[in-house]
Symmetry: none
Subunit: 227 residues, 4 copies
DNA sequence: GATGAATGAGGTTTCATTCAT
DNA sequence: TATGAATGAAACCTCATTCAT
């Protein structure tokens, strides 16, 4: 969920630096990227607590020394990864909200597709999101910032939609507009994150999606969800 | 949130065992508890990734050797801690739902107090809950089980209430009753967990509570939340 | 030589601490001492620049881990060694000056035995003294302090003797009494340190001793050295 | 001080060679010199024990690879630096002795200016001299040779002066002529090296100079130093 | 029951060194 | 000539873990 209301920092693509302070060339950037990719992959397999520099290096077919040429430690690599992902994910998520229509019968379908897209997004980045969530909760400012960048626009977009819908149907927008949007984002995030936990106990992804879509729909339109 | 629908394992209070297999006496149990308390405390301060046996021992004013008399590793201590907490928390959380009335004006107040209690519970156990969430997401069955034990009854109770309310007001209960309850629990959990993230960006705990209470209220009663 | 005129700190035997902050017991102190002894030995063989923790541990028949239980790094071990030595050496050196008589023919013999004792002291501690000198020159306050503790009393004693002698023979004591003593100590130290360098080029320890004794004798008594 | 009586090796200005054996051109010599300069500078700031190839390269704004084009390791660079310095310093130091007059009242002033010049010379090359002293003490033949080259002529010149003065005043030259000169050089060197150590404890450079000048004067002329 | 002490094991980190460009 | 980049090798350092007391 979006921990912050203030806008994400568009950081103008600062060059990554090698350990000695120089900006790496083509080959170097390639290696760096390979390390990031492997970090990402391992994040799915290993426990965060047990993810080692050696593992990443081995996975990437290099030596730890090479890893340290590009990142001071595992966290830094994950941070870079998170930044990369947030930049892309931000758009991907926001697009979902702004695209769909909430008028008439299609509204519920929009709600569904949001739930769907969210779940899929989390699935695509589960390892990384898991760590971002953890570290943000642990109070790490850098990861909090990333999380914000990633979820904020989605949250704001959702709030805007709720506002529009309220006006359109002559209702009053809820006083806690942003908070409500944030709560909904939280709901989506957490369900997506723990999807397998649910499934392991008989609650299908499908019914989760439906349950979320209904809540979303009602929150946005103020109407009962269709049967 | 409740990853599982099946009941929590009531493990009949098995005695903790020391490393040598014996059931520890009074002094031993005290030491063990001290270690658990310190683990809990450190879980708030340190990063999970960096929590070491040595740290716990030092915090408890003993040596690592003593730690190993009671736990095979850090995870085991956390697990014990989690079990301890789940047993107590289960009741504490469920009580909230079963106690309150949903009739008339008081219904909304019940929703509010649930949100409140949830946030407070998380606050009291943030470090531990953080780790339980993480490890459960990472697929660790033991922690998933704990999480279930903790949240399942709450979820089921919530589902029951929703069912009752539907019957009372002659509505049809939502098809996805359990899923909906699960989703609501997710919402509560995640917002509680990331409460400080929200606050750091201008969304107050108060407005979060209100936003959650409204969604809860609507989901349970099928009515619009009062202005 | 004595870089400082102010008195050495008698530090009341502070207990050495292990890495975890505890005061080691008997066995621990033994190990610690063994490590110190080996450090001392290696200081004679290896280059300071190349003295590694591993070397010391191996020499002592333990593992690096054990070393780190007692010292944070090589420097710390050397420092401890230096402190140990300074406490003992201080007395050993000072005794030389205060013991001998400067009256009549015996005076020159006293000068000689000072030179002698100094050379011998350096020989017994060459490796350590070498490092103390280096690090003190490099500006390390801790080693400077040690050097002071070691040489200061000797310097002061020498100054006192010079003062006495001046009074006895009705001369005026040199204005730069302490500075002169310091310079003489420097002379003794450096010659002792580079003794082998001299010898390699045909200047025998014997003639060095004589040359120094003469300069000493003249400086202290104001008389020409006997042929 | 002059560890050796035998003459310094005049090595006929052999061209420096690059790693591949070629004699470097203009640009190459420039780079090499820059590396030497940086080494010299770092010798003042860093500890000898901690001076790394990487440091030098970075300081010089190049990469380690470039360093290795000119020197096989740090020691080699220091050695080159030392040779460079010794060639120049030799003359600079010796000039002091041969220039001044020892007749009459001016004699003491000559002694003073020697002490002065020595101190200044050390100050200009403290880092390097520190390392030369250490390595020579550690028994490294190459550095011993350098040290000899640097100090030998000064020592010999001093001995010659002492001899002259003895003859002039009809005294017998001290039997240990060379040894005495060597001891005096030691004195000068050590005091110069530890000048700051003295100052930190209340013995001023000025009084050191005076004390040394007096000892020198007496040793050379056989007379008491003027009040 | 508690714990000093030792240490195997293994990850971390740094560096020297090389090579292809 | 210069240097990005990679990396073997080795030291550093920390920890989990054990055991004798």
């Amino acid at each position: 969920m979006a921990d912050e209301a203030t806008g994400g920092t568009h950081e103008g693509e600062e060059e990554p630096r090698a350990a000695d302070g120089r900006v790496p060339g083509r080959r170097g950037r390639q290696t760096r990227q390979r390390l990031l990719d492997c970090t990402s992959r391992l994040l799915e397999e290993e426990t965060y607590r047990e993810l080692r520099v050696v593992d990443i290096a081995r996975e990437a077919g290099t030596s730890p020394a090479t890893f340290y040429q590009y990142f001071p430690d595992v966290e830094a690599a994950i941070l870079a990864l998170a930044e990369e992902m947030a930049a892309e994910g931000d758009l991907r998520l926001t697009a979902i909200v702004t695209t769909g229509s909430w008028k008439g019968a299609g509204g519920y379908r929009t709600a569904e597709s949001i739930a769907d897209a969210y779940i899929r997004f989390w699935e695509d980045n589960s390892g990384l999101m898991r760590v971002i969530d953890l570290t943000a909760e642990e109070g790490d400012g850098r990861f909090r910032a990333i999380r914000t960048m990633l979820l904020n626009r989605f949250m704001v977009a959702l709030a805007a939609v709720m506002d529009d819908e309220a006006k359109r149907s002559d209702r009053e927008a809820p006083a806690e507009l942003l908070a409500t949007a944030g709560v909904l984002v939280s709901m989506l995030s957490h369900v997506a994150a723990h999807r397998y936990g649910f499934e392991a106990h008989g609650i299908s992804a499908d019914s989760l999606r439906t349950a979320m879509a209904r809540i979303l729909y009602t929150a946005v339109t103020g109407k009962k969800a269709p049967a």
